[in-house]
Every structure is written in C-alpha cells, then in structure tokens.
Symmetry: C2
Amino acid sequence: MPQVKTEAPHEIVGEACPVREVLDRVAGKWSILIIVAAARGPVRFTELERSIEGISRRMLTLTLRNLERDGLLTRTVYATVPPRVEYRLTDMAQELHQSLLSLTDWATRHREEISAARHAYDAERLVDGR
Amino acid sequence: MPQVKTEAPHEIVGEACPVREVLDRVAGKWSILIIVAAARGPVRFTELERSIEGISRRMLTLTLRNLERDGLLTRTVYATVPPRVEYRLTDMAQELHQSLLSLTDWATRHREEISAARHAYDAERLVDGR
DNA sequence: CAGGATCCAATTGGATACTG
DNA sequence: CAGTATCCAATTGGATCCTG
C-alpha cells in the first residue's frame, strides 16, 4: 500500500513548520478538489468519481482515506443493499474551505494574466533559442 | 528536460476550471514555500536554497522557472562578478501571498487537531487490524 | 455500490559533476 | 554565484480484476 505515508521523512528536518504542514495536507490537487466538491454537503463515492473529472478509482480512495485520517472528512457507512457511503467535511475542513475560496478566487481573477505571461515567456525562448 | 510541462494533458479535459488552474500553478510545496520566502522582498538564489530547507538545486531552479513563466516572479540579473540574480514577486503574486496567509493560518490553528486525528485513526486500524 | 489488491508505466526528485 | 546537464532511485498514478 503506497501512500498514507509513514511520515518518516518529516521528523528528520524537525517539522513543526506550519507552512509545510498545510502543504503536506492539502497539496496534490485531488485533496482540494474533493474538499471543494464536498463543501456543499455529504457526497457519495461514485458521485465524487463522476464529478471530479479525471480522477481514478485508486486515487479517489487513497485521497479520501488521507483526508479522513487527518480529520478533514468523516466517512459514514449505511448498512443498506447496495451499500451507501457518505463523506462530509468536518468543521475544521469547512474552515479550510473558506481559505481555499480566497485561493480559487485569486485564480479566477488572474487566469488570463497567467496565461498571457506563459505565452510571452514561451515565445521569448523560442526566438533566441533559450 | 522534464517539467515546464507542455500542458498537453490539460487541453484534453477541456481545462478552464479555475480550481484546477490554481492547483497546477501552486501545487507542489516548493512553489508556495518560495512565494512565502520572497514575499518580504527580493531574494537571491543561494538565499532561497539555504532558507527553504530540503530543496535540491534542481527543484529550486525548476520551480523558479515555472513561477517566472506564470508571471509570479521576476528574475533580475546583475552583470557583476560574481553574478547576482534577484527574484521578486509580481503584484499578482503578492496578492496570491495574501490568500496563502489565510491557508497557513488555518494550518497553524489546527495543527494539533490534525495530529490528534491522525494518531487516533492510526491507533484504530492497529487494534482491529484494519 | 464502494472499495481493496496488484502490476506496471510515467513522473518526480535527489545527488553530483560541470560551466560562464 | 547561479545555474545546467545527467544519471538513477523513489514515488505517483492509471488500468484492471476481485469481493462483501
């Protein structure tokens, strides 16, 4: 079982840096995408699989487990047939979602600018051969 | 040359999703770490290399190039001996930094809670063997 | 439906040696 | 100093098959 890392590499450098902390938690686009998707209410596994676009069954499972482990998601199993599992954000994750909004808002506002900067950069290396 | 991706895989799914947009830009812990480090003023290459803790020469270079390409950093070369290169955030990146503050603040506030959730989770799978 | 397990391909990233 | 280039190890992640 890869992932759900044993967190050994952290301890080495001392850890405790909050910036690092948040990144290890949230980095990897799937985490954020899931948090955003679950922000409006409980979601089911298949629902996430369809709405996330491009995520594999494996990565969805892995990411969900990690988020659950970090206390950002709760997983509720209903003993029905067929089984039904719901994921929902914890209060802590709802707060995180608020912070993420500021981030996605920034992205939306600067999408054009970023795209332009990129093309300009690429064009420049093209003419003088780097 | 790996990295500085050709962005082909995006186009396939249609792209344009701002959430995705921001993630591809900012994801990868080094980017955020660099932005935070450069937020207070111009920084030099070696300065970053020392202050980032754990980053390799290679990743630092690669990440700096990507940030520059996206218009988040400017790179200024001074024709001195030895050479001196300074990186500084663009206005757009300064704005991003503000958003990131809300994120790191969240991380700081919930560090304990996350750690506790983790240990609880791990302890649970330990007793019943998953 | 909601995953777990496995296999394999691709990407990421560190270490290191070299250069203007 | 500020990188670039190269080699190789580790991680990531997709595809697939199986099950309660």
